[in-house]
């Protein structure tokens, strides 16, 4: 038996909307009942895990348990600010949750809860539409336009070089567009965490922190930005999510513990 952690909330009052239905069930097979573990003004959202990790009945890093983990956080978030825990935080028992997290980090947890109150994370992806951005860079550069006309009769290596020049032109454009997006987004949201872009055609991957009540406005602003980008940028925004990227607690441990 051990205790699985979903996140930390402010301790609910008796009139809280955080009912047993909202808590529901979480990770494990069969899914364990999610419960509240209070400590002073805060509380951990936890469930009891029967097996060891990877064992039958235990928690596995597979779709089922990851989805359950995210779903619990999402349900709690709908009624209460939650500092979400990373997947896989399993400790021997409830006491250990208090001893290693709630007690020593109380001040920081309270500060995070206050700062992130009513806030949501939005995960924004901005990518070029491949065909359109190629058309755009070729059109806007006479040299590339000329090469495009000649590329039909060029040798294999010349064509490779042409492709490389297009890639360089996209790269140059991308830097400008990334800056433009960030500058446009800054006034709309509280905070932005920029992630690594996964590919050449990716203009921006970022987590935005915004008041949950203002998400519609952010959405409308993103639509305007997409229009301004005149069709070559595709914006996608997922949320509202618990503020994963904006939790400060335990942040210093990340690098060595999860360095892969």
């Amino acid at each position: 038996m051990s205790t699985y952690l979903y996140g930390v909330i402010r301790q609910p009052t008796s009139r809280s909307r955080l009912t047993a239905d909202v808590l529901g069930t979480g990770v494990g097979e069969p899914p364990a009942k999610v419960r509240i573990l209070p400590y002073q003004q805060i509380a951990a959202v936890v469930s009891t895990a029967s097996g060891q990790i990877g064992e039958e009945g235990g928690i596995r890093a597979m779709r089922r348990d990851m989805a359950a983990h995210a779903a619990v956080q999402s349900r709690v978030m709908a009624v209460r600010t939650i500092l979400p825990a990373r997947f896989g935080m399993l400790v021997p028992d409830d006491r250990e949750v208090i001893a290693t997290l709630l007690e020593p980090q109380l001040d920081q947890l309270l500060e995070d809860l206050q700062r992130l109150r009513g806030m949501s994370e939005l995960k924004l992806s901005a990518d070029y539409v491949e065909s359109d951005v190629i058309a755009r860079v070729v059109k806007s550069d006479p040299q590339l336009a000329r090469l495009a006309r000649q590329s039909a009769l060029a040798s294999h290596t010349q064509r490779i070089d042409f492709g490389r020049q297009i890639a360089a032109a996209i790269q140059q454009r991308r830097e400008q567009d990334t800056q433009w997006l960030l500058e446009s987004l800054r006034p709309l949201v509280r905070q932005i965490v920029v992630d690594d872009a996964p590919s050449d055609l990716s203009v921006l991957r970022a987590s935005l922190l915004a008041p949950t009540a203002q998400i519609d406005e952010v959405d409308a602003a993103l639509a305007r930005l997409a229009d301004e980008a005149a069709g070559i940028l595709r914006l996608s925004c997922v949320g509202p999510l618990p503020p994963y990227s904006f939790v400060q607690v335990g942040i210093s441990e990340k690098e060595h513990a999860w360095d892969y």
């Binding site: 952690l5 060891q52 990790i53 990877g54 596995r60 890093a61 779709r63 990851m66 989805a67 995210a70 779903a71 500092l83 979400p84 825990a85 990373r86 896989g88 935080m89 399993l90 400790v91 290693t100 997290l101 980090q105 994370e121 995960k123 491949e130 065909s131 190629i134 070729v138 495009a148 006309r149 590329s151 039909a152 009769l153 294999h156 064509r159 490779i160 492709g163 490389r164 890639a167 992630d195 996964p198 590919s199 050449d200 987590s207 639509a223 997409a226 229009d227 069709g231 925004c237 997922v238 949320g239 509202p240 999510l241 939790v247 607690v249 335990g250 441990e253 513990a257 999860w258 892969y260």
Partner: protein, 197 residues
């Protein structure tokens, strides 16, 4: 799928997440971000980290492969429409380019696409397995060459596989598992492209 709607251009709706279908969207977050305490990681056994890494690759691959399969279908549509669009864009439809030349333009455009999309992958693969990489590149070369022959009736011999030494830099800075996924699907895309001709 709701994703296809929300991914559409000029319509960046905020998707409600997560649900089981949207796990891919939050995977990075639940694996990389959020509360983590050194002690938790320690007591949560060594296995969880390995399990998590494996699972991330598996889940990400499945989702990526689905996405790429969709992309491969789109690519064919794109290739067809590009036949008109690139000459249109560069100069008028009949701006002195013979119809054979237009076909070639199309091939060239597609070749350029592939280079942009997969150039880094080709390089990565040829480093890992030099012989296979060579074959792969020759394969593309032949495909292009075949298109050339068909279009202008010209034999096209000089297909080099060793002159792409700088292509790798395009993928620089991408997460480690990315190129691997891209390789798998890249290969299948090439296969498809080859089959088309």
């Amino acid at each position: 799928m709701p994703e296809s709607n929300t991914m559409s251009r000029r319509d960046p709706q905020v998707r409600r997440a997560p649900n089981s279908a949207g796990l891919y969207d939050v995977l990075d977050l639940i694996l990389d971000k959020g509360i983590v305490i050194d002690a938790f990681v320690r007591v949560s056994l060594v296995g969880i980290e390995l399990l998590t890494v494996d699972a991330r690759v598996v889940i990400a691959s499945v989702d990526t492969y689905l996405r790429y399969a969709e992309g491969a279908e789109r690519l064919q549509l794109y290739a067809r429409s590009q036949a008109k669009r690139l000459p249109d864009m560069v100069e008028g439809e009949d701006g002195g380019i013979a119809s054979g030349g237009k076909k070639l333009l199309k091939k060239g455009a597609m070749a350029a696409d592939r280079l942009i999309e997969h150039g880094g992958d080709e390089h990565g693969r040829s480093q890992d397995q030099a012989e296979d990489g060579q074959e792969q590149e020759e394969g593309i070369g032949h495909t292009i060459a075949k298109g050339m022959r068909k279009a202008v009736g010209k034999v096209f011999h000089s297909v080099g596989g060793s002159d792409e030494s700088d292509e790798g830099e395009q993928e620089k800075g991408a997460p480690e598992q990315r190129p691997r996924q891209a390789n798998g699907s890249g290969g299948s895309k090439h296969a498809r492209a080859g089959a088309r001709r």
